[in-house]
């Protein structure tokens, strides 16, 4: 039960922030916090891959963009010209289409966001699987370059294809309604609801990951990170675990992309840029590589500050600087050093040893 203590604190934190924001009349902060929530989801997926499976991905924004763009294209592409086709009638019969008016008052028919989301997630899983088989055989620089290359290809394709809106991206993405008006949308009146949708998703992903890491899979992943050859020797199918983690983290990133796209009502090529991928890596590094909680805290903080524009034009430079400083002075993350120092100062040596014993349970 102790592993859910953190989740309980997270839930309390989520509620507390909302209450404070609502009572101090500063609900507008929730907008950036919602966006930060979606980015945090993507970053958590990367943390699972980098921190636990020990595989760097410099192309994670690519998966975020694959999710966001698939969803955006499918929910904005007008299907009305195909209304006589069999496929259209099938979708209509299954109530998987939604009619709405576009900016000029014309009626357009799109795929329902749920279908779009399912397609987006399946597509990202498929791409991650196909890419992952060869990529994850690589190590070190080769893995970094291969994932970086993948990210750049996604960016170039998005930037160069008319279907994806080229440099303008895709706008006018409809809200993702679950029930009545409630759903993911940029509607000002639904800010609080959207904040909860985003952060409950983050919370659920945390629950999923915590349980995953606490299981056989988690132990296998840690073994792979520690010593890949040794873990293969004791019978862990390292390739399989790495691939599954890669696919999972890609799907989570894609889900985050879907969410943010519906929240913003659009997506642009900058979501696929290399700098976004590097930023995710920077956050995972700052959070302490193998610490989901550290990553979550750093991600919320840094993304929120960045989205509020506190870093101004030094935004990218700041994340570059964070990368260097963390890797030079605290390769285990900011939170880890402060914790360990405080630990040493607070608790005398003998007790630490005894506590170290109990930790091994």
């Amino acid at each position: 039960m102790r592993k859910y203590l953190g989740i309980a604190f997270l839930l309390m934190g989520i509620v507390a922030i909302q209450l404070v924001a609502s009572f101090t009349d500063s609900v507008y902060y929730l907008t950036q916090l919602t966006m930060a929530g979606y980015y945090t989801m993507a970053v958590l997926g990367l943390a699972l891959l980098m921190g636990y499976a020990g595989q760097i991905s410099l192309g994670h924004a690519g998966f975020f963009a694959i999710g966001g763009y698939s969803s955006a294209v499918l929910t904005t592409y007008n299907l009305l010209p195909y209304r006589d086709g069999l496929f259209y009638r099938l979708l209509e019969a299954l109530q998987l289409l939604q009619k709405r008016e576009d900016l000029y008052g014309d009626t357009i028919v799109n795929l329902h966001p749920v279908v779009a989301m399912v397609v987006a997630l399946l597509l990202s899983a498929l791409i991650a699987y196909v890419i992952g088989i060869p990529v994850l055989k690589l190590k070190g620089h080769y893995l970094a370059m291969a994932t970086l290359g993948f990210g750049i290809i996604v960016y170039r394709v998005v930037l160069g294809t008319a279907l994806f809106g080229e440099a303008d991206g895709i706008s006018d993405v409809p809200p993702f309604r679950f029930y009545g008006d409630l759903g993911i949308s940029g509607d000002m009146d639904l800010r609080v609801e959207n904040y909860y949708i985003a952060w409950i998703s983050v919370l659920l992903i945390m629950v999923l990951f915590i349980n995953l890491l606490d299981s056989r899979v988690g132990r296998a992943l840690r073994a792979i990170h520690g010593a890949e050859d040794a873990s293969r020797a004791v019978g862990i199918d390292t390739g399989d675990y790495k691939l599954k983690t890669f696919v999972l983290s890609a799907v989570v990133a894609a889900l985050a992309g879907v969410g943010l796209t519906h929240f913003n009502g659009g997506i642009g090529p900058s979501e696929a840029s290399v700098m976004k991928s590097v930023r995710y890596v920077a956050i995972v590094a700052a959070g302490g590589m193998a610490s989901l909680w550290g990553t979550m805290v750093m991600s919320t903080f840094l993304n929120f500050m960045s989205l509020r524009g506190y870093f101004g034009s030094y935004d990218d430079a700041l994340f570059g600087g964070i990368l260097i400083l963390i890797m030079l002075f605290a390769p285990e993350g900011i939170l880890s050093i402060s914790f360990r120092r405080a630990w040493k100062r607070l608790i005398p040596r003998t007790e630490r040893v005894r506590d170290g014993d109990t930790e091994g349970r």
Binding site: V135, Y142, A146, G149, L159, D316, A317, G321
Partner: protein
């Protein structure tokens, strides 16, 4: 397609390919002495050309290029001393992230100094429209400068590594750092030297190619990934093969605009990189046995 056009494409491919090769050789020099891939390699090319362009405002072309190259060389040394030298046996992941962070910082610094604008050095001889006729094709004299200067640099580097004591010391570090240290070679200084060398050749290449391709603060990333493709194509660590790999990639890229939109041009070279990484990470010219000794 006429033969002239075909040859014209080849010439364009060779020009770009040689620049990629220089970046690849920069990767190789650092990789050989440290086992690190310096992701900020493309930034040296950018810095060299941008500094030269700024200096050209106050002095003639040749001194500004020489000075810019020397300055970039010392920036390379500074980077090594500040960020690499004092780390005790860093992991590959850590080094990757540090050099990526460096490339971002350099790029952002360049953005704040020079802005987003596209700049260029003037043509060394003639101007944009002057051309030289060689056989059936007409090429800009600047292309000859690029090819000539870069080939000259490769030749000098080969000479340096094979026939001078310092070059041999550096190769000793590449082959076996511990043994080299036992022989009294200061391996740390050799690493600094390798950063200086690769910054220097990057800067020179950036200067000679600037009139043709123009320079911008963010040109480094693309060059780095293509240079890496070339380094892999030729087999990491093998500089002469990188030259061949560069020319192959340059030509492939220049022909790629035929069968797909030029917006995807960059994607082509990266797709090639991925295919080679997946199929034959030892490179087209590299030997499998030798690469088996290296860390992938």
């Amino acid at each position: 397609m006429g033969v002239e056009l075909f040859l014209q494409y080849i010439a364009a491919g060779v020009t770009y390919g040689i620049i990629y090769a220089i970046v690849a050789i920069g990767f190789n020099i650092i990789y050989n002495t440290t086992g690190i891939i310096n992701f900020a390699q493309g930034e040296f090319v950018m810095l060299g050309s941008m500094i030269a362009i700024s200096l050209h405002g106050v002095m003639p072309l040749l001194p500004s290029i020489v000075l810019a190259s020397v300055v970039t060389m010392f920036i390379g040394a500074l980077i090594e001393v500040l960020f690499i030298r004092w780390l005790k046996s860093p992991t590959v992941l850590r080094m990757i992230i540090i050099t990526i962070g460096l490339s971002i910082l350099i790029r952002e610094l360049a953005l704040s100094i020079w802005g987003e604008g596209v700049r260029a050095l003037p043509y060394f001889t003639g101007n944009e429209v002057s051309s030289v006729e060689i056989g059936m094709i007409r090429i800009s004299p600047q292309v000859l400068w690029v090819v000539g200067v870069c080939l000259f640099m490769v030749a000098v580097l080969q000479g340096f590594f094979h026939f001078t004591l310092l070059g041999r010391k550096m190769r000793a570090c590449a082959a076996n750092p511990v043994a080299a240290r036992l022989c009294g070679i200061n391996t740390k200084n050799m690493v600094t030297l390798s950063f200086m060398l690769s910054a220097l050749i990057g800067a020179v290449a950036g200067c000679v190619v600037s009139p043709i391709t123009y320079s911008q603060y963010n040109m480094g990333t693309g060059l780095a990934i293509k240079g890496f493709t070339v380094a892999i194509l030729g087999g990491l660590g093998n500089s002469l093969a990188a030259l061949g790999g560069g020319i192959v990639l340059g030509i492939l890229e220049s022909f790629s605009v035929w069968f797909m939109p030029s917006a995807y041009k960059d994607a082509i070279s990266i797709a090639i990189l991925l295919v080679i990484l997946f199929v034959r990470p030892s490179g087209l010219f590299g030997s499998k046995e030798r690469m088996a000794l290296k860390e992938f």
